[in-house]
C-alpha cells in the first residue's frame, strides 16, 4: 500500500484492468499519444498500443456510440469525455441508447461501458470547463452515476464500474486530481457501487455530500469540533442508485440535515436526497432540510472574483453547519 494521488489511482485502475482483461480499452480525445489533457491515461498507449488506447476524433456522440457498438460485439470500452461539459453532444447516445439497451431488448443485450469525465470548477475553467453534469443523468433509469472523493475510492469504484454489466458514468472532480492523496492498495480491488460511506461520525448535524464537498465538509467538521459541534458526514459516492438506507440512517442520526453540492441547487441531486428524507424520515427531523449548492447561474465565470463567489469553500460549509446545529 502506498500513498497515491487521486489521478494516479484512476490511472492504476485503468492499467490493471486492461492488463487483466483484453476486452477493456480506452477511447477518447487526446488519450493516446498525449496521455489525456489531464494526463490520466499517461503511459497507457505505450503499454497497450494504439487501439487499446485510442485517440478519437473530436466527436463525442461517436465516442459513446462507437463504445456502445464495440460493447455489443464483446468489448468493454472505457470512454473519456475530455471535460464533463462536453458530454452534451453525447447525451442522445447515453440516454436513448446506453441507458435503454437492456430494458428495450428485454435483457437480451446489455451495455457494459464506462464513461469517465473530469468535472467541477475552481480551476479557472470558466463556463465550459467547470460544470457539474451529474444531475442530467441521475434522473435516468438504466444509468449508474459515480463520483469518488478519495484516491482509494477512485480506484475501487472505477474497477467496479468497468466490471459492471451496465453503463456507468464516472465523474472525477478535477480539483481533486492532484490535491488529494491517500493510501491506495497496490493490487486490484473493487469498492461496491450504490453504497455511501460514513466519513465521520457525529451527533449534532449531518452533512450529505460527495466529491469535493466531502473534503470541505470534513474540514468544516474539524473546525466545528472546537466549538463543541460534532458533525456526521456521509459521502454518497454513487448518485444513482442512491444508497437510500445510508441516507435515511444519516438523517436520523442527528435530525438535522445539510446537503452540499457544487452543482446548482434547483433539481440537483440534493433535491432527491431531501425528498427521500421528507418521505421516509420526516418525523425524525429537528430542523428544515437545508441545501448548500452552487447558485442558479448557467455556470461559473472566468473572472476570479466571480469564480470565487460561485465556489463552495470550508467557510461557507462551516457556517451553514453551525447555523443548522444551533437551530
Amino acid at each position: 500500500m502506498a500513498v497515491k494521488q487521486y489521478i494516479d489511482a484512476i490511472r492504476e485502475a485503468l492499467q490493471q484492468e486492461m492488463a487483466r482483461d483484453e476486452r477493456v480499452f480506452v477511447l477518447g480525445e487526446d488519450v493516446g499519444v498525449r496521455g489525456g489533457v489531464f494526463r490520466v491515461t499517461d503511459g497507457l498507449q505505450a503499454q497497450f498500443g494504439e487501439y487499446r488506447v485510442l485517440d478519437f476524433p473530436l466527436t463525442e456522440s461517436a465516442i459513446v456510440g462507437v463504445a456502445i457498438g464495440a460493447a455489443a460485439a464483446g468489448m468493454i470500452p472505457v470512454a473519456e469525455i475530455q471535460f464533463a461539459d462536453f458530454i452534451l453532444p453525447a447525451v442522445n447516445q447515453i440516454i436513448s441508447e446506453a441507458a435503454k439497451i437492456r430494458y428495450r431488448s428485454n435483457n437480451d443485450w446489455n451495455c457494459p461501458i464506462v464513461i469517465r469525465a473530469p468535472f467541477g470548477g475552481g480551476v479557472h475553467g470558466a463556463l465550459y470547463h467547470s460544470q457539474s453534469m451529474e444531475a442530467l443523468f441521475t434522473h435516468v433509469p438504466g444509468l449508474k452515476v459515480v463520483v469518488p472523493s478519495t484516491p482509494e475510492d477512485a480506484k475501487g469504484l472505477l474497477l467496479s464500474a468497468i466490471r459492471d454489466p451496465d453503463p456507468v458514468l464516472f465523474f472525477e472532480h478535477k480539483k481533486l486530481y492532484r490535491s488529494i492523496k491517500g493510501e491506495v492498495p497496490d493490487s486490484p480491488y473493487t469498492t461496491p457501487l450504490g453504497k455511501a460511506a460514513v466519513r465521520r461520525e457525529g451527533d449534532d448535524v449531518t452533512v450529505i455530500t460527495y466529491g469535493l464537498g466531502v473534503h470541505l465538509a470534513l474540514e468544516a467538521a474539524e473546525r466545528l469540533e472546537s466549538e463543541g459541534i460534532t458533525a456526521h458526514v456521509l459521502d454518497l459516492r454513487t448518485l444513482r442508485p442512491l444508497d437510500e438506507e445510508a441516507i435515511l440512517a444519516a438523517a436520523r442520526r442527528t435530525g438535522k440535515v445539510l446537503i452540499v453540492h457544487e452543482d446548482n441547487k434547483v433539481c440537483g441531486i440534493g433535491a432527491e436526497v431531501s425528498a427521500l428524507i421528507g418521505e421516509y424520515a420526516l418525523f425524525d427531523l429537528d430542523a428544515p432540510i437545508r441545501r448548500l449548492a452552487g447558485p442558479e447561474v448557467p455556470a461559473m465565470p472566468f473572472s476570479p472574483t466571480l469564480e470565487k463567489a460561485y465556489m463552495l469553500n470550508t467557510d461557507k460549509v462551516a457556517s451553514e453547519m453551525r447555523s443548522l446545529a444551533r437551530f
Binding site: 456510440g65 462507437v66 464483446g74 441508447e97 430494458y103 431488448s105 428485454n106 435483457n107 437480451d108 446489455n110
Partner: protein, 338 residues
C-alpha cells in the same frame, strides 16, 4: 440469353435466388397483414418495408448471417427475416407480446434486435445505430475477427450528425463496415429536395475517404452485386463502403401517416410499376427459374405462414404487468460479472 445467367453470374444458385424472392414475398405478406390488423384496430402501429424488400434482400444475401453483425432500421423487415426472424416473431412484436424476441413486446414493431442472431438492438431516434455498427466493426478490427458490420438507414437520416461522425471514424480506421442507405425519396412528408442538396447520398462518402456507390434499389440482384463487392472489400481489409439504394416507399410513412397531403397518387402509382417484387418475379419467370404455379404455391405458403403466425401472436399471452420493472439493470442471477 444474358438475362438467363444474371443471378448465376453473380454466384447465386437457382435455389438461392428463389429463396431471395421467397423472403421478399414473405416480408410483403407480413407487412400487408400488419396493415390489415392495424386497420381492424387490432394492433396500434405499423411501419412498412413495402418497396424496399429488394434492397434488403440484396443486402441480406450478400452478408453472412453466421458471423456478420447488422444494425438494421425500422423498415428492414425483409433483412431480419433473412437473418432468421419469422412471420411469427414479427407478428408477436406487432401485438406487443412478451414472446417477441426483438424486445419482448416492449418496443414498437420494426424495432429489431436479437443477440443470438447478431441483430444489434435498435431504437426509434434515427441514426443512433450507425456508430453502433462502426463500434462492432472496430471490435472486429481490434480482435482480428472475420466479421463485417452492416448498418442501414434512410436518406433523411443521413443528415443526422451521428451518420457523419460514425462514417468519419470508420474511414480513418478503414473499418469493416457497410453503410447502407435506403433512399426512398421521403422523410415522412419531406421530399429529398428539402432534405439534402447533393445529388446522391453516396456522394458523401468522398468526405470520409471511402467509396460511395449508387445502386438501383428496386433491383434485388443489382443490390446483391454491389453489396457483395462491398462486403468482400470490408472483409479483406479494404474498409467501408457507402451503398445508396434508390428505392421508393410505396405506402404511407406509418399507420399514423396520410401521404396524400404531400405526394400525388400518380407519383405513387408510377412508382408501383417498379415494385421490386414484381421485377424479381418477372425476371425469374423469364429465366425459367419460377413458374406461375410455383409462384402461386410460394405465395400461398407465405400466406399460410402469416395466418398461422397471426393466430399464434394474437392469442399469445400479454406481458405480466409485474414484469414492468424487470431488466433495468442486470438482475443478480443473470449477471456474469459483465
Amino acid at each position: 440469353m444474358t438475362e438467363v445467367v444474371r443471378h448465376r453470374a453473380l454466384g447465386l444458385t437457382d435455389e438461392q435466388v428463389l429463396e431471395m424472392y421467397r423472403y421478399m414475398v414473405l416480408a410483403r405478406t407480413v407487412d400487408e397483414r400488419m396493415w390489415l390488423l392495424n386497420r381492424a384496430g387490432k394492433i396500434p402501429f405499423v411501419i412498412s418495408c413495402q418497396g424496399q424488400e429488394g434492397a434488403q434482400a440484396g443486402a441480406g444475401f450478400a452478408l453472412d448471417p453466421s458471423k456478420d453483425y447488422i444494425a438494421p432500421y425500422y423498415r428492414d423487415l425483409c433483412l431480419v427475416l433473412i437473418y432468421g426472424h419469422t412471420a411469427k416473431t414479427e407478428l408477436l412484436a406487432a401485438f406487443g407480446k412478451p414472446e417477441d424476441p426483438n424486445s419482448g413486446g416492449r418496443q414498437m414493431p420494426g424495432h429489431f434486435g436479437d443477440r443470438a442472431r447478431r441483430i444489434i438492438t435498435g431504437s426509434s431516434p434515427v441514426g443512433t445505430q450507425i456508430p453502433h455498427a462502426v463500434g462492432a466493426a472496430l471490435a472486429a478490427k481490434m480482435r482480428g475477427d472475420d466479421f463485417v458490420a452492416y448498418v442501414s438507414f434512410g436518406e433523411g437520416t443521413s443528415n443526422q450528425g451521428d451518420f457523419h461522425e460514425a462514417a468519419n471514424f470508420a474511414g480513418i480506421h478503414k473499418l469493416p463496415v457497410i453503410f447502407f442507405c435506403e433512399n426512398n425519396k421521403y422523410a415522412i412528408s419531406v421530399p429529398e429536395s428539402k432534405q439534402l442538396a447533393c445529388k446522391n447520398v453516396a456522394d458523401r462518402a468522398a468526405g470520409y475517404g471511402f467509396e460511395g456507390v449508387v445502386v438501383d434499389g428496386m433491383d434485388a440482384l443489382e443490390v446483391y452485386r454491389v453489396m457483395k463487392a462491398a462486403v468482400e472489400k470490408a472483409r479483406n481489409g479494404g474498409g467501408p463502403t457507402l451503398v445508396e439504394a434508390k428505392t421508393y416507399r410505396l405506402v404511407p410513412h406509418s399507420s399514423d401517416d396520410d401521404d396524400r397531403s404531400y405526394r400525388s397518387r400518380e407519383e405513387v402509382e408510377e412508382a408501383r410499376k417498379g415494385d421490386p417484387i414484381v421485377r424479381l418475379r418477372n425476371y425469374l419467370l423469364e429465366v425459367g427459374v419460377l413458374t406461375e404455379e410455383q409462384d402461386a404455391a410460394l405465395r400461398q405458403a407465405a400466406l399460410d405462414e402469416v395466418n398461422e403466425a397471426t393466430a399464434y401472436a394474437e392469442q399469445a399471452p400479454h406481458a405480466d404487468p409485474s414484469t414492468l420493472t424487470k431488466f433495468v439493470y442486470a438482475e443478480e442471477a443473470l449477471s456474469d460479472g459483465r
